[in-house]
Amino acid sequence: MISRLAGFVCCLAVAVPAYAVDENEANNLLEDSKCFKCHSIDKKKDGPSFKVTAAKYKGKADAEAKLTKHVTVPSKVKIDGVEEDHGAAKTRDPAKVKNLVQWILSR
């Protein structure tokens, strides 16, 4: 019974594909939202690189929820000791937000 159940779980794991990130859509949203002004993919700018962010959230269960909140709700961040406004992604489409969050997490 246990082996059957394990087999079923394995089949499910194979059947459910990993989220396919649309690179171009994520890139366009990042451009439109001016994210690249402070964040780079993997290099140093005033904000952390997306690679650093991905590493920070790697393996954390609440990664998607936290990042979704961060990119959709305006907040305050500290740059060089000065508090600044952190804007939100310029979209209200949940699918585009999900794609963006998955793009960040996959760096």
């Binding site: 451009e31 690249f36 780079s40 993919i41 290099k43 140093k44 005033d46 740059i79 060089d80 000065v82």
Partner: protein
């Protein structure tokens, strides 16, 4: 045979003219100089046009569509910066250095180094680091074709931009250290312009 011909030609060049006046020779030389210089400059400027740059598919199908999405291509005021505005300095000396350097790109075209989008992607980081290295060593001379930090009116900038520019000025940063990946996709790779600049400075 050929040496004798060359010697006669050289002797003819060195012999004073018995037929033409000094005025005719000087005037003729002046006019020929204008035609040559005009032609040279026209040809040089022709290689600075957007049409020339996107004439090859290597640029037309890769960096050009990316640039078309940016503020340097389309903006509120209708001022467009074309490829050469950001990749070729305006002053003559630096322009000539860049043009001579760019002649290597002709070899790249002949040998097909980036003749497919896949090959271009594989080379994107290397090509970007070349452009960044050039810009950090010339204090972003191409950006300064149009932008000058001393000509900026901070009161017309956002508070964020004011702080960033003040910090850049205080730390002696050059434009490209922050404004990279703005006209083309940012390539994935270990060093950005700041890191390249630090490496160059550490070698001195």
């Amino acid at each position: 045979m050929q040496i004798a011909w060359l010697a006669r030609f050289w002797a003819a060049l060195r012999t004073p003219s018995a037929r033409y006046s000094l005025l005719t020779l000087a005037g003729g030389g002046f006019a020929a100089g204008i035609i040559f210089w005009g032609g040279f400059n026209t040809a040089l400027e022709a290689t600075n046009t957007l049409e020339f740059c996107i004439g090859c598919h290597e640029m037309n199908s890769t960096v050009y569509p990316e640039y078309k999405q940016t503020i340097h291509y389309s903006n509120r005021t209708g001022v467009r910066a074309v490829c050469s505005d950001c990749h070729v300095p305006k002053d003559w000396t630096h322009k000539m250095i860049r043009k001579i350097e760019a002649s290597g790109e002709v070899w790249g075209k002949i040998t097909g180094v980036i003749d497919t989008p896949e090959k271009f992607e594989a080379k994107r980081y290397e090509l970007a680091t070349r452009a960044w290295t050039r810009m950090v060593t010339t204090d972003s001379i191409e950006c300064r074709n149009c932008h000058h930090i001393d000509s900026m009116d901070p009161s017309k900038q956002t508070e964020k931009a004011q702080r960033r520019h003040a910090k850049a000025k205080a730390e002696g940063k050059t434009c490209i250290e922050c404004h990279f990946g703005i006209a083309h996709k940012e390539p994935v790779g270990p060093d950005g312009p700041s890191e390249l600049k630090a490496k160059l400075l550490s070698r001195k």
